[in-house]
């Protein structure tokens, strides 16, 4: 990895789909994090068959002061296609870590993204009342939300 990930205050855990349909949003998302001087941490950053994926994800969450969870692909788009559970599952791990962790862990920030405002509530009503941001599948809107949240956490370089 070309950057130093030892400083948790600079690490941003990214929980999003990694399929080709999401690439037009993933690239600007990662670019924005890097541009603002942070380190994106994603589950696919290293590959080790001996390491359980769930352990890797928990480790990345613990090492990051901020996290971004994109729930925009919760919904299946084709007949007989399963809907996607990894993203809400990892969001749950992150929230669980925060609630059960030390005070510094509780101060961590997260950004939850959805495609449209309120649509996620049909699948995940427990998040009602949370501040969820919509990107409408538009790259410029994902840049805005990520940049605003990163600027909230620490002054950009």
């Amino acid at each position: 990895m070309p950057w130093d990930t030892n400083d948790p205050s600079k690490n941003v855990f990214v929980n999003c789909p990694f399929d080709s349909e999401y690439v037009p949003l993933l690239r600007p998302l990662l670019f924005t994090i890097l541009y603002l001087g942070y380190n994106p941490r994603i589950a696919s950053e290293r590959s080790d068959s001996g390491e359980a994926r769930i352990q890797k994800i928990c480790e990345l969450i613990k090492q990051s002061q901020m996290s971004i969870h994109d729930l925009s692909r919760l919904r299946s788009t084709r007949k007989n296609e399963f809907f996607r559970l990894n993203m809400p599952f990892e969001l749950g791990i992150d929230i669980g870590c925060r609630m059960g962790g030390e005070s510094e862990v509780r101060q961590r920030k997260c950004l939850i993204l959805a495609k449209e405002r309120y649509s996620y509530q049909r699948a995940l009503s427990d998040l009602s009342g949370s501040d969820i941001k919509a990107h409408n599948d538009q790259p410029e809107e994902i840049v805005r939300e990520v940049a605003e949240r990163c600027s909230d956490v620490v002054t950009p370089k």
């Binding site: 037009p24 690239r27 600007p28 670019f31 410029e140 840049v143």
Partner: protein, 68 residues
């Protein structure tokens, strides 16, 4: 408290290249050529906007800081 960063995006549209201020619901204008869109967006650079140029697939080609 410093004012929040302002950004203008150059993004691909079916009819050409749009110049869109971040947060606006619609593009300011759509140009046939990307170069023309960048040229016009750069005027906003002098009013405190960062210029973010996207490729056709949405990824970021260039992010230029404001010149204010």
């Amino acid at each position: 408290m410093p004012s929040p960063a302002k950004r203008v995006h150059i993004i691909s549209r079916e009819s050409g290249w749009a110049v869109k201020k971040e947060g606006a619901s619609r593009a300011s204008r759509v140009y046939e050529k990307k170069e023309t869109a960048i040229e016009n967006a750069k005027r906003l650079q002098r009013t405190g906007h960062d210029v973010v140029v996207h490729k056709r697939d949405g990824s970021i080609q260039k992010w230029e800081k404001s010149k204010k």
